[in-house]
Amino acid sequence: MKTRAERKKTLHEWLITLPPVAWLTLLFVIPTLIVFAITFKPVVPGTGDIGKGWTLTTFRSLGNPNYPAIVWRTLWISVMNTTLCTLLAVPAGYFIARLAPRARSAYMMLVIIPFWTSFLIRIFAWKTLLHPEGPIHGALAWLHLIDPQALLLYNAWTVLLVMVYTHLPFAILPVYAAAEKFDFRLLEAARDLGATPLRAFFAVFLPGIRRGLITAILVVLIPSLGSYVIPDLMGGPSGEMIGNKIAQRTFVDRNLPHASGLSALLTLAVLIPMAGALLLQNKRQPERMMTEDA
């Protein structure tokens, strides 16, 4: 027999756990399972409706030789984007965190200001800048850095450039948040113990902002994998990513099971690195950035 207090405690635990579990089930688990399930449904030809019964047609067609190239491109653009954003965000975060508090907010303002303009307008702005008659193309051609006939738009590198531009603030914010809490006296301690400034940076600062780094990586990597707008506007056929294929299957081919199959692939590609990161974070005990007496 459970005592009243124990029963009350169990009830308490349930009440606390239930809302997030319900939330996740309703808005994440069920929709994801529906997407997975639709992959195994037939399509009604001509209408784009989902038919009755179950079939492996879509599952087999995912072996289409076109897909590996697109999946590969999606992966490398996303990984490159994440790497570049992180590489730029770490020095930026370090630099801003070391400024006086007033200057910090001014610099953070500069990081956030692009958000005041619509995402689409900023992408079109890039299109204008990189256009064969635009200023960047003109300047580079004038400096003989590119062939005047070369096209800066509509390739995978342009997609990468604009993706880095778009995602960089999202990487700087968590890195800065971690760097701001970092106890910079630890760097002095490392210097005192014989480390060069660079060594102190790698041995003490980077581990100190590990949480911020992991967040930055996830926050950039996951949306990159699902990118649709940037490759659609900047990429052309040679810059296509998996998001574009999903859109194409949905709106052009009216083949929802096929789109679902690709989405399921993408979902798995996103979930696996996230689970990995969570495991990595949980393996190490949570720790404070500062010494306790600080």
């Binding site: 106890d183 006296r185 630890l186 002095e188 301690a189 490392a190 210097r191 005192d192 113990l193 014989g194 480390a195 060069t196 060594r199 041995a203 003490v204 581990p207 100190g208 590990r210 005990q285 720790e287 404070r288 950035m289 500062m290 010494t291 306790e292 007496d293 600080a294």
Partner: protein, 391 residues
């Protein structure tokens, strides 16, 4: 003769603020040297200059005759215990201690042996696997010491190392620090605002104020013969009485002082050869005064001063009792170890007329006096308001 460590005219400004103002002093090899002063007096800046974290605007530091100016912190044979220990939170105790040797790329076996030796020295062998957030303040401090000592520095710099600890632990760590110093025998430079810490630990103390050194001496020199009112007031409590030297007795080097608003002239030993007619400030420590209900005729020597007064306040402090006694225009702070020396001696109560007496050797005369200095540690400012009153 070349000194072990010499500061020569070191200056440092932060914008318009002069943190360190032409400071010169020398430290002997193997001693514990304290830099003592209130916050903002420049002591930490001086330590950071020695550690290589700040560049002086002027002057130089010589270690064994070698100018340290161009050596970055990682090349100085000087290690620091930071105020909050600055242990690396992502490394275990063992990894923290090993850090310096790993940077120096020493062989793994040697590192392991050295770290084991250090863990034994600080008695933390069984805590080696823990991360810093799982150990106590005192243990953190010991790890910080081990982490610095493993590099065998010529000088260990300690920046308020006990400030973050509670009183009991502070007293224990003070003894431990002293023992570690005896074991390793290297020079310690100890920065603190706590006069008790520096008194009990140091061979020499430099008392600093407003970027300058007020006095350098052994703890007893600093306490017994302070050279300025700042030192007198900062190191322990004191009473400062203003007056003039009236007469000097060359046979025993005592002098007679006329204090303004004091009931009688007083005798004082004149060890600074102050001339008759000079305006001086007589400083007498609270514990040098004695209070008695009856005039202690039999106990008095010719060099004793004895004046009548009235008890205005008294606070029982356990180990001793504090009295505030009105004598003439002054309110003297007096501490006496017990209210009653003998059981048959009557207890001193509020408003009791009493006799205050002290030996002429127990006062010291200062020629310089800054009104603002005294307030730092004026026993009359630290009034009975916060302490519980005795009945």
């Amino acid at each position: 003769m070349a000194e072990f460590l010499a500061f020569e005219g070191i200056s440092k400004n932060f914008g318009p603020v002069c943190a360190v103002d032409h400071v010169s002093f020398a430290v002997k090899q193997g001693e514990i040297f304290s830099l003592l002063g209130p916050s903002g007096c420049g002591k930490t800046t001086l330590l950071r200059i020695l550690g290589g974290f700040e560049e002086p605007d002027g002057g130089r530091i010589l270690l064994n005759g070698q100018d340290l100016a161009d050596l970055p912190p990682n090349q100085r044979k000087v290690n620091t215990i930071f105020q909050n220990y600055a242990l690396f939170p992502h490394l275990t105790v063992r990894q923290n201690i090993a850090f310096g040797l790993q940077i120096a790329k020493r062989p793994a076996r040697e590192i392991r042996a050295e770290v084991d030796r250090m863990l034994k020295l600080i008695q933390m062998t069984d805590q080696a696997h823990k991360k810093p957030h799982l150990i106590s303040g005192g243990q953190k401090q010991r790890v910080a010491i081990a982490r610095a000592l493993i590099l065998k520095p010529q000088i260990l710099l300690l920046d308020e190392p006990l400030a973050a600890l509670d009183l009991k632990l502070r007293q224990r760590m003070l003894i431990e620090l002293d023992q570690i110093h005896d074991t390793v025998g290297i020079t310690f430079i100890y920065v603190t605002h706590d006069q008790g810490e520096s008194m009990s630990l140091s061979d020499h103390i430099a008392v600093m104020n407003k970027g300058r050194i007020e006095q350098i001496g052994t703890p007893s020199e600093i306490y017994e013969a302070p050279r300025s009112s700042f030192v007198a007031a900062f190191i322990g409590d004191t009473n400062i009485l203003e007056g003039q030297v009236m007469e000097i007795y060359p046979q025993n080097n005592y002098c007679k002082l006329q204090l303004d608003g004091f009931p009688s002239t007083v005798l004082c030993y004149n060890d600074n050869n102050i001339k008759a007619g000079t305006t001086v400030y007589l400083s007498v420590r609270p514990e040098k005064f004695h209070v008695a209900l009856e005039k202690p005729e039999t106990k008095l020597h010719p060099e004793h001063n004895c004046v009548p007064g009235k008890v205005e306040d008294m606070v029982y402090m356990g180990a001793h009792t504090k009295f505030w006694v009105r004598v003439g225009d002054y309110r003297l702070a007096i501490t006496q170890q017990h209210r009653r020396f003998l059981l048959d001696e009557a207890a001193i109560k509020w408003n009791d007329p009493v006799w205050v007496y002290w030996h002429g050797d127990d006062g010291f005369m200062l020629e310089r006096y800054n009104e603002s200095d005294e307030k730092i540690n004026d026993p009359t400012v630290e009034s009975a308001a916060t302490a519980s009153k005795a009945n």
